[in-house]
């Protein structure tokens, strides 16, 4: 599996129903293990995700232009997950619009291609510093 948009999120982008995700809309990131989650285009909401390994991170300093350099690219400050319990490798994550209710929280992007074995400390995800940053539409 490669990183991907959720098609049902793209549908909502086109319909304009997701709001300004760079504004007050709460966008969160969840760390996951591919052993516990298989990406599927049929997944629309965060209720399809496995339980959080660590507290989901609320993204801040969000832009829709790759930090001013790349229009169409969603970017944000790096995300730090605190005190991630030791265990099997973590190798994927999902970005979603959080409504406070998983069954209505739209999944936006799925990202893999990394692996980190948690040692009980913090894990910081440094987003790519070039296209697609976090994700490009």
């Amino acid at each position: 599996m490669a990183s991907a948009h959720y098609n049902l999120a793209l549908q909502e982008f086109w319909k304009g129903t997701l709001g300004d995700i760079t504004g007050a809309t709460t966008i969160k990131v969840r760390l996951m293990r591919s052993s516990a989650y298989t990406f599927a285009q049929a997944h629309q909401f965060a209720s399809s995700l496995p339980a959080a390994i660590a507290t989901d991170v609320t993204l801040g300093t969000k832009t829709a232009n790759g930090a001013g350099a790349d229009p169409g690219c969603f970017d944000a400050a790096d995300a730090t997950f605190t005190a991630v319990p030791s265990g099997a490798a973590i190798d994927c994550l999902a970005v979603f619009k959080d409504t406070g209710t998983p069954a209505t929280s739209n999944l936006l992007f799925y990202i893999d291609g990394f692996t980190v074995t948690p040692n009980g400390g913090d894990i910081t995800i440094q987003w790519q510093n070039s296209t697609p940053w976090i994700a490009k539409l």
Binding site: G60, T61, A77, T80, T82, G113, I123, T124, S130
Partner: protein
């Protein structure tokens, strides 16, 4: 309590926000580079090394 400005997004604390935290947590965030602010006290090298020791960083792409 100390006020810090978040650089990284940490848990529910989004980057760019100014938040008030217990001194110990604020100092940890500052020392780890997650936030800007003023330390509540001096930390010796051993303390700093201990605080910094458990971090893991995952760089996505180039």
């Amino acid at each position: 309590m100390s006020t810090v400005t978040m650089i990284n997004s940490v848990g529910e604390n989004a980057a760019g926000s100014e938040i008030e935290l217990p001194d110990e947590i604020a100092d940890l965030f500052i020392l780890r580079g997650y936030a800007d602010g003023t330390l509540s006290r001096d930390y010796d090298p051993n303390e700093r090394a201990e605080i910094l020791g458990e971090q893991q960083v995952v760089g996505l792409g180039g």
